[in-house]
Amino acid sequence: MKLVSEVGVGTVAAGVAKAKADHVTIAGHDGGTGASPWSSIKHAGTPWELGLAETQQTLVLNRLRGRISVQVDGQMKTGRDVAVGALLGADEFGFATAPLIVEGCIMMRKCHLNTCPVGVATQDPVLRRKFTGQPEHVVNYFFFVAEEVREIMAQLGFRTFDEMIGRADLLDMRTGIEHWKAKGLDFSRVFYQPQMPADVARHQCEMQDHGLARALDHQLLAAAEPALGKRQPVRLNYRIRNANRSVGAMLSGAVACRYGHEGLPDDTIHVAFEGVAGQSFGAFLARGVTFELQGATNDYVGKGLSGGRIVVYPDPTCPATPEENIVVGNTVMYGAIDGEAYLRGVAGERFCVRNSGATAVVEGLGDHGCEYMTGGTVVVLGKTGRNFAAGMSGGVAYVYDRDGSFVQNCNTAMVTLEPLLSEAEQMAADALLITAGKGRIRHRQRFDEPLLRELIERHLRFTGSTLALKLLDNWEASRAKFVKVFPNEYIRALSELYGKENAVMPAVARKQKEAA
């Protein structure tokens, strides 16, 4: 957990430690990458010394310090920085700018433009050739840092680094600095050491007890043994509650251990849950695993989804109209790479952010849907929040735009909005593009209409959505209201791919392919 150094950060760090984090970073105000906005660089946080001192004092006072490692960063450059950090209570230190400079960074602040002239922060092969850094340079730099730390430790009489952590009593303030801002400074609160018994840890010396022994996944693993061992289908039923977090992650790990990313045949392990799931329901779910939940979930459903299927629908006895009510939380399918999700109801914010290949059907969204998405297919059967498709560079989203308001909510900086053509129309449009020499390969190599229709049909089949049924019943009218969100970069890539394939493919083979 990375925390901005500011007043009150100690309290947050204590909460983080109680919440079983292994590690907390106190980030000072000095840092900021070349790509970060001025507002963040100039106006976020306080010096790391203040945040670190507060964190150390709070953690020691609450007897939490031993089980969490504390890192500090923000323009760490010298061995002296490390020594001061250790005395104020840090176990670890984050270095970023200095090693970058060692590798040749000249602080161009163009990291976000792909034009780094020294080849550090760019993907451009021409510019990357200009990179002159070597690992040995970085190694050498850190040797210098370590040597300085060792010298300071020797002066202070420490044999091990652990002895040094939290010994703020050894710090002193330089007096006689002739600057009006330095007058009246009082560091006693920064140097304060809580008076605690000697057995209370001042540095990280034990591991967090993550309580994994009680995880629901242990039951899943045992019950799914026939599937894991002999690939026999299993059907399971569980009640679930919000204390059950990351359900499915360990199970998926077991699948991946034995069968790799290929996983198991579709639906080999089918688990039906009932209740309200805790955070990260179906995280990293592997191929061959289906989670079906009657009820609702918290945030992070299907995080990093890796081939599995997640189906969520509300309890049928619930009187609320499903397509008007939240059924899954925020940040659903974050960073998903493969698999599918059918969600009978509305999702929260940041739906499918950084999705790179998974398919999702949902009946409405909060803000920032499909942000930074690079691949996959998203079908939204209802309204979206604002800033939809910001930074989206791949994949396609189909949005049912009932009242024509979608364009106001979509961030069109990187995407084009197109009407959803019928199969025949799309075929004709493609022919035009091909004669113009700019042909396109279709998304998932299929026409949009049958693909969309199939996904809505599956949504109906898995969730029993009446909304899906209504749309399918009146398909021509519904189709006309769908908007295809097509990222410009994706269009360009598909066109280039088309050009490449045509360049290498003999005319005969091309004709055969087109006929097929």
């Binding site: 070349g34 000249i106 602040r109 433009l113 034009t115 002239p117 020294v118």
Partner: protein, 478 residues
């Protein structure tokens, strides 16, 4: 910022020049300013660096990325405003500055730097051409009188800044025309002198009074200046040439570069010079491998020298510097000036031992080769290479070995200011105050021989310090 990918797509443009064979026939400038779209392309290569090293590489901290961008966008008048905000005389620096900014350009690490100097040259020529350079007289006068002694670039910049702040400034010059070494040191083919006249017109409207043939410490008493003026800025330059005290130094035909160059400038300027030192038909040897030496080469070529040889004491520097080692600082590397291109022999690691001649006229130069090696303290030491002595025919020998400091007699004696270990006037770069109350010093007189651009910087900063002394505060930029 210019074009984001400009540096990847465009190459540096070198300003067009007349061919050497053409240009040695006259004393006019021969570098052609960029065309509009060439300048835009030149500016497009700027990367608008997060840390603009060019701006710190430039002694007057020209806001280079900004005007590069404005030139790229064809917004020349705005570019001129930004350029003038830090530089009083871009038409001087755009011609004769060695451009430390380009050495510290980020592109210079692994590519050709942005042609910053050519852009500066373009902007200011455009500005004069379009009539955008106008006098900026102060809105009200302060009634304070300031004397600026010495009218080189430091004195001119200082005087202009003070005049714009509302002070009535008198600029004293010992010679008969304003400009100092700009006028009488730098040959016309590098910078034509009507540029100085044009600036003088502007400065006169802004309220600067020029007083030529006024050699303070000689025909004007320092005490009178101190009585008449509320403050004095000494900007008299570092004009004491370094001599070469070897046997035969007294022979006719051995001259300082600063005896030789001003005469030609006077002649180009329409004055008559009795008994001009001329290189015509002579075998010329220039001793000293710096910019002044190079100016001697160019002038000798124009006068029709039979041969020109330039000697340098130090060994030949590398063609390309060790960039990771020196960037963004000024590198020591082989520099071939336009004057060198016009024809001369250059030789390095040569020490002159004596001059020989008959009838009091020099005919030969005897020199030997030297080797430079580090001694036990790590200092470079020179040692003669045994048996390397050689003779060289020489009818005219020009000594261009730099300057030791300001001329001590007259001015500095009368003001009685303290000097530093290098014989320059002692003053810091915050206040520019000398040891004598209300007497300031700036430019070469304070820092020793240096670039025009450093002189402008010091003149500007000293003006601010003077303004602060007179008014209690100052709005002039530092």
């Amino acid at each position: 910022m210019g074009k984001i990918t400009g540096f990847l797509e465009l190459t540096r443009i070198r300003e067009a020049m007349q061919a050497p064979r053409e240009r040695v026939r006259h004393y006019r400038e021969f570098i052609l300013t960029l065309a509009d779209d060439e300048a835009a392309k030149q500016g497009a290569r700027c990367m608008d660096c997060g840390i603009p090293f060019c701006q710190t590489g430039c002694p007057i901290n020209n806001i280079i990325p900004d005007w590069n961008d404005l030139v790229y966008r064809h917004q020349w008048q705005q570019a001129l405003d930004v350029l003038h905000s830090t530089n009083n005389f871009p038409e001087f620096t755009g011609r004769i500055c060695p451009a430390p900014c380009e050495e510290s350009c980020t592109l210079n690490i692994n590519d050709d730097p942005v042609g910053i100097k050519s852009i500066e040259h373009f902007i200011i020529d455009k500005g004069w051409g379009e009539g955008w350079v106008k006098p900026q007289p102060p809105s009200r006068a302060t009634g304070k009188r300031v004397a600026v002694v010495g009218s080189g670039p430091a004195g001119m910049a200082c005087a202009q800044q003070l005049a714009r702040a509302g002070h009535s400034v008198v600029l004293f010059e010992k010679a008969d025309r304003i400009g100092g070494l700009l006028r009488y040191g730098i040959p016309d083919f590098k910078m034509e002198k009507d540029l100085i006249d044009r600036r003088m017109e502007q400065m006169a409207v802004e309220g600067v009074e020029f007083r030529v043939n006024a050699h303070v410490g000689h025909n004007v008493a320092a005490s009178r200046i101190l009585e008449e003026f509320a403050a004095v800025v000494l900007t008299g330059g570092a004009e004491a040439s370094r001599d070469l005290p070897v046997p035969g130094r007294e022979l006719a035909g051995v001259h300082f570069a600063m005896e030789f160059l001003p005469q030609q400038n006077r002649i180009v300027g329409g004055e008559a010079v009795d008994g001009q030192i001329s290189a015509e038909g002579k075998h010329v040897v220039v001793i000293g491998g710096g910019d002044t030496g190079s100016d001697c080469v160019g002038t000798s070529n124009r006068q029709g020298a039979a041969s020109i040889t330039q000697f340098e004491l130090l060994p030949q520097p590398p063609d390309v510097e060790d960039k990771p080692m020196v960037w963004p600082y000024w590198p020591v590397k082989l520099r071939t000036s336009s004057s060198h291109e016009e024809g001369c022999e250059r030789d390095w690691a040569v020490a002159t031992k004596r001059f020989e001649g008959t009838d009091g006229k020099v005919e030969r130069l005897i020199a030997s080769r030297v080797e430079w090696q580090k001694d036990a303290q790590g200092q470079m030491r020179m040692a003669e290479v045994a048996g390397s002595e050689f003779a060289m025919r020489a009818d005219l020998i020009l000594l261009a070995m730099g300057f030791t400091g300001p001329v001590a007699t007259g001015l500095l004696e009368q003001f009685g200011v303290d000097r530093d270990a290098r014989s320059n006037v002692k003053a810091d770069t915050e206040s520019y105050r000398t040891s004598v109350p209300k007497v300031f010093a700036a430019g070469d007189m304070r820092r020793g021989q240096s670039l025009v651009v450093w002189a402008i910087r010091e003149g500007r900063q000293a003006a601010r310090s003077v303004d602060e002394l007179l008014m209690g505060k100052s709005l002039l930029p530092r």
